[in-house]
Amino acid sequence: MSLTGLFLTSFLVVHLIGNLQLLKADSGFSFNAYAVFMTTNPLIKTVSWGLYAIIILHAVKGLALAVENKKTRNVKYAVDAGNSNSHWTSRNMGILGTIILAFIVVHMSDFWFSYKFGETPWKKYTIEFANPEQINVEEISGVTKSVNIVSETHQVLIAKDLYLKVKETFSNVIFVIFYVLSMFAIMFHLWHGFASAFQSLGINHPKYNPLIRSLGIVMAVIVPLAFAIIPVYMFLN
């Protein structure tokens, strides 16, 4: 659990850096270029399949752990004083994880599936390096493969317009709310999970605990909030 959890946490950071391209006002150029890179680079392709496997492994092992642990006490206490001795996030990792899993399924079918197998329009971006602020965009059809040509004076990118798909999704307030709430689930999951992973690996040392705590706050609070800003920002724009 600890190794897969920390791997997924590190993935979140990479994913966030990519997604922040969505906030650039460049008609989706940076984001679509990033999407081309992520889906064509062989190293990244291998890592992504590994990532899908690790999500499944983490979810299956996590849910099995939650179910097995529930079976250890057949007669429940009449009075539950859980809040007085532990944080509620730590007692609800299975539920938080299940919400995240549901989110991943919706999220993957929204973007990943429609990008790979659905109908996404194609865009051609032309940039003159003499005037990089000016990005020329046109919709084109009949293309089946992305192209990225960089010459001394120009860059031409032909790519699927995932940016448009994202924009459409986040013009629907229901999706925006769902995404933001899911980020809170990740926040609470990591609020307990990040430090917990180190404890499970045997790392609990006065010298390193402050570092783990600060990194944990970055991972559990700043990262999910930064993710949550994206749909809200795109909705408002």
Binding site: N69, K71, T72, R73, A78
Partner: protein, 249 residues
Amino acid sequence: MKLTLKIWRQNNTQTKGELKTYQVDNITDDMSFLEMIDVLNEGLVQKNEGPVAFDHDCREGICGMCSMVINGKPHGPSDAVTTCQLHMREFKDGDTIFIEPFRANAFPVLKDLVVDRGAFDRIQQAGGFVSVNTSGNTIDANAIPVPKENADMAFDAATCIGCGACVAACKNSSAMLFVSAKVSQFALLPQGAPERKERVLKMVEQMDKEGFGACTNTGACAAECPKEISLENIARLNREYLSASFSSK
């Protein structure tokens, strides 16, 4: 003071139990919680009713027998005390107090508040010892140098009285805090080194066999432990276990 008690009554392991309501009067601030139950039991005996069965021995916080959960908390509301050290001044006149046995499938209820903590004994027998002959040829304590810091940490771990509150508090009924204390007290000292790997592997194996759950680091155990055994011991147990699993034959 006058109190309403809701106490778990159960005849034996096979039968089902239930919470029964009792009233006690003439309880004073300076009584211990167990003395309060003694007062209740005297009344029950006079009325020809069966007294509430509960475990106790030293009544001074060292034997670890007085297991019970008071208002949802093992050993009651005060920090770092056992039930026998809990004073009635922690309660107010007119309070209703719920008293339940430690609940975990690995600790079956024998009668009322008495549970069978034999699982802890079996974990200890699996490896919680050093195989040295201690009779006749006692070695001077200072013959083997031990850093003060390690001696202190080992001593802190060794203060675990095996009461089982950690299991009772944990939502997973995990025995990790207990086992980590028993592994740590030897892992930190040179005397424990010869059996170090074998000890941790065998004790963890026995712990799993007894049906305790897996640790998910909620920290409820350390918060409720009457001896304030620290979670650092669980991290040490995880380290000991990982390194022993990798390197044992």
